[in-house]
């Protein structure tokens, strides 16, 4: 289990295991942010508080449950995010107590009566409401800002109708402002917990989620890009029925991610490669990517393809940023570490060479990305995934102090986090593939690396 290079291996492994396990459970129940939360949260929370007393943290848990629990709406995300953070609690009993004290936050997912939700639908669609010939009375899923209903259109298509809670916009904004204020007040007494950064993350995610116009545009763009794709499908958005409050998309029926995990190895390998190509491939290839790789957004469809859902959190890099990112990755893939460092340094995100020297920075980049830089097939086990995430983010990583002083541009930070989320998903699948060859494939630097790669090239040639 233990990693000889790590200073405190046993503890690190246990922390990692705990985090991944909680993330897994949450992924099912919270319309959520499990993986990305586990990843982002670790960046921001542990900080310099290694020596903090467990008692302080438990009191913090109490207050958190107190504060977030009273915000019935979206701001509960804070508690959800924080509860899967490794807060640096030393003893196991204290950790369990921490989880127990935050438990109330998860029971109270806001639920608006179906009648009210249908009323929102009627009102926002007006005459167009007639195009929906039948709709389930009860929701099939509840998210933090809305509920999803299954319905049938007048042309017979089955659709998923995502409806925002009434007045959610001002409510989310109000909750987020309160949350920011409260985090500020709490931070005074709990230095080192860096609640502000976590709150900023919650805010970013929530505000993007509320913006259905932006989501529709992202969704349409992604759908158009992958029509007839051989490895995955994007549900078709029904733009003429979408409004600021409602998103109507084709209904995809398939197995959820946690059942995908139980499939045969070949199925999991296929899924892993598809996930890698969809998220990381697009990130490097076009610079426009979905930054929300988490279990709830991935389905295994009956024809063996994957279905990807939910485009509330998409990122578009500038052409220049995308080019730098590609160049750094290419250099790393060729083993040209110095070029990789120079590019990253010039681009301004490895600024502080005092705290992270050239050799250290290179070692850091290679360790974090090691899983898709090496030659040949590699099975991403949970341990591989954990090591990569831990090196990148955890305070007991030997790079922690150095990397914390570096400034990541927001889009690059999102990209790196997306990669971390992907490797976490691949770790859960235990997927195996020649990752670096696939990377050269999607970068267009080499022949198709796999049958999926060939199929994609054929598809790209005709579409």
């Amino acid at each position: 289990m233990s990693d000889p290079t790590d200073n405190a291996p046993g503890e690190a492994e246990r922390d990692g295991a705990l985090r991944v396990k909680r993330a897994a459970t949450l992924g099912k129940v919270v319309a959520g942010h499990a993986v990305r939360a586990a990843v982002t949260a670790t960046v921001t929370s542990k900080g310099d508080g290694v020596a903090r007393r467990d008692a302080d943290i438990l009191r913090f848990a109490d207050e958190l449950a107190t504060v977030a629990g009273s915000m019935k709406g979206a701001a509960q995300k804070l508690g959800q995010l924080l509860s899967i953070i490794d807060m640096g609690i030393a003893s196991r009993t204290a950790r369990e107590e921490f989880a127990r004290r935050l438990a109330p936050l998860f029971d109270s997912a806001p639920r608006v009566s179906d009648d009210k939700m249908h009323a929102v639908l009627d009102q926002t669609l007006g005459e167009r409401r007639g195009r929906i010939v039948s709709i389930d009375t009860t929701a099939i899923a509840a998210a933090s800002i809305g509920q999803v209903y299954r319905a049938v259109l007048d042309d017979g298509r089955e659709v998923a109708v995502k409806i925002q809670y009434p007045n959610i916009g001002p409510m989310v904004r109000a909750d987020l402002k309160n949350l920011q204020l409260i985090a500020k007040l709490m931070a005074k007494r709990l230095p080192g917990a860096n609640t502000q950064a976590v709150v900023a993350e919650v805010q970013r995610q929530m505000l993007k989620e509320v913006d259905y116009h932006a989501e529709l545009i992202n969704h349409q763009r992604t759908f158009e890009a992958f029509r007839g794709h051989p490895a995955w499908r994007i549900p078709e958005p029904i733009a003429e029925l979408c409004t600021a409050q409602v998103l109507v998309t084709e209904f995809l029926d398939g197995l959820p991610f946690d059942q995908l995990v139980e499939q045969e190895q070949s199925v999991k390998d296929f899924a892993g490669e598809a996930i890698y190509r969809f998220y990381c491939g697009e990130l490097y290839h076009t610079g426009f990517f979905c930054a929300d790789p988490h279990p709830g957004n991935i389905l295994l469809l009956p024809d063996g393809k994957l279905g990807f859902l939910d485009f509330g959190l998409c990122v578009e890099m500038s052409a220049a940023d995308a080019e730098i990112q590609r160049a750094v990755f290419r250099a790393l893939l060729c083993g040209d570490n110095d070029t990789a460092f120079d590019l990253a340094h010039q681009a301004g995100f490895l600024k502080d060479t005092e705290s992270l020297s050239r050799p250290e920075a290179i070692e850091y980049m290679r360790e974090v990305s090691g899983w898709h830089l090496g030659e040949g097939h590699l099975q991403i086990t949970p341990a591989v995934a954990r090591r990569s995430v831990a090196t990148a983010m955890l305070p007991n990583s030997k790079f922690y102090a150095g990397i914390r002083n570096q400034q990541l541009l927001e889009t690059h930070a999102m990209a790196r986090r997306t990669e971390m989320c992907v490797v976490a998903l691949l770790g859960r699948l235990g997927a195996s593939a020649p990752w670096s060859a696939v990377a050269r494939d999607y970068l267009g630097d080499a022949e198709a690396a796999t049958p999926m790669g060939q199929a994609i090239r054929q598809w790209a040639a005709v579409s």
Partner: protein, 444 residues
């Protein structure tokens, strides 16, 4: 938007010195705080704020985007001050370390003292956080309710710790009700501070009464109840009497439409146009009856307070058994809460948002609140008997606390605890709290 909410950053020109920027923003917030608490948000312009802050208007706009952003900053500042003054976390720590009931009482008295002290020192603060913020717009109203929810949660947490420490009755359902009743005891002091007439002497009387009520209830030590309990009255609680329309139907229809619009969108966001649209009527129709939206609000205040007035208790009859007193008080609460239930949303507008419209509206509703409190005070005094009420309980406070507790119980309805059984239970707990304080039972 993201940047604004996340970091409170400006999108406009960035001043060169961060220290200066912080100082300037602070000056703006201080100035706006004074302007808002004195004249209200709607009546204050950015020019007013600039003058008070001693800057040019152009300078102000370098640091903030507009009046709405200033309002959020002022609100943040006020909440920060409130939480600092209350030192809630210290209170919780103290509670956690409490050994016995004596210490508990000290903590409660300390808490009450801090709250009422805040009213003394910063009357504007609570006004801004309550009536003014609730009236501003939907988003800020939500923020107020959110902060209030946090406050309630702290109270619940304190109660939970009290239960663990062994000085509070072990009954989670009564905790839910108590968590609403305790903050309600601030209302009399808050109302006192709103018109700026609260003297220190007044404040101390209220503070003393509030502590006494929480710690031991309103009964004088050794109060005598000789009678045996009368058989449980079998008569059901009377349905609320709503008076017949005070105006002709057209007027009432306009008032109903307006109240509906105000309740859902807020007073400031609604114009005459929206009101007449609900009825499919013309502008002219409106002005046949009312000179303006503000004129209509006056009519609305008169109508709605008349409805409540009809529900106020009459002076009761002195009861000779404690059980009867308890039952009578519980029935009084139950009656009041049930009467409010069907019009909860509209009443919330009338008594929570309308006072923030302007000083005149505030005064009118405040006067009615005091009148209602007096009626309740008379009822409690006659039913319980003045000689049995503890000397520390100020009569005026008691009446106002009674009204505040009815309102607090009504907020439980809004949370969906609105079945007849729940209302009955809530009324029973409230009556016991009034009589016996936190113990919810007669002292042994």
């Amino acid at each position: 938007m993201v940047a604004q909410v996340a970091q409170g950053r400006r999108s406009r020109g960035r001043p060169p010195v961060t220290g200066l920027a912080e100082r300037r923003r602070r000056q703006i917030v201080d100035a706006a705080f004074i302007a808002f608490t004195e004249h209200g948000y709607e009546q204050t312009s950015m020019a007013d704020i600039a003058v008070l802050a001693g800057m040019g208007q152009g300078t102000v706009y370098r640091y903030v985007d507009g009046k709405r952003e200033v309002l959020d900053l002022v609100f943040d500042y006020a909440v920060e001050r409130l939480f600092e003054s209350l030192a809630l976390d210290e209170v919780l720590d103290m509670i956690a370390g409490i050994g016995d009931v004596e210490n508990r009482n000290d903590v409660i008295a300390g808490m009450g003292g801090r709250l009422y002290g805040l009213i003394d020192r910063e009357p504007g603060l609570l006004k801004l956080l309550s009536v003014q913020s609730l009236a501003a717009d939907k988003e800020l109203k939500r923020r107020v309710l959110g902060i209030q929810g946090i406050f309630d949660s702290y109270v619940r947490l304190g109660l939970e710790r009290g239960r663990r420490a062994g000085w509070l009755i072990d009954d989670p359902r009564s905790h839910t009700v108590l968590a609403r009743l305790l903050p309600a005891l601030i209302l009399p002091g808050l109302v006192l501070s709103l018109d700026g007439h609260g003297s220190t002497e007044f404040r101390e009387r209220f503070d003393r009464a509030a502590s006494q009520l929480v710690v031991g209830g309103l009964l004088r030590q050794g109060a005598q109840f000789d009678g045996t309990a009368a058989p449980v009255p079998s008569e059901p609680v009377e349905p609320p009497r709503v008076p017949a329309a005070l105006f002709d139907d057209r007027r009432n229809a306009l008032l109903d439409a307006a109240l509906e619009c105000f309740s859902s969108s807020g007073y400031n966001a609604v114009g005459v146009q929206e009101i007449v649209e609900v009825l499919g009527a013309s502008h002219g129709a409106f002005y046949n009856y009312y000179q303006s939206k503000r004129d209509l609000l006056d009519a609305l205040i008169i109508r709605e307070t008349a409805v409540i007035e009809a529900m106020l208790p009459d002076a009761g009859v002195r009861l000779e058994s404690l059980a009867d007193v308890e039952t009578a008080l519980a029935q009084g609460f139950q009656h009041a809460v049930q009467s409010l239930a069907p019009r909860l949303r509209q009443l919330t507008f009338m008594f929570v948002e309308a006072p923030g419209v302007d000083a005149e509206a505030l005064r009118a509703l405040q006067r009615f609140y005091q009148y209602a409190a007096t009626r309740c005070e008379q009822n409690v005094y006659s039913v319980v008997g003045a000689d049995r009420i503890a000397p520390a309980i100020d009569g005026e406070f008691l009446g106002q606390a009674f009204v505040a507790m009815v309102a607090a119980a009504a907020t439980l309805l809004a949370d969906g605890r609105d079945s007849a059984e729940e209302i009955e239970e809530c009324a029973r707990i409230t009556a016991r709290f009034l009589l016996y304080g936190l113990n919810l039972a007669p002292a042994a």
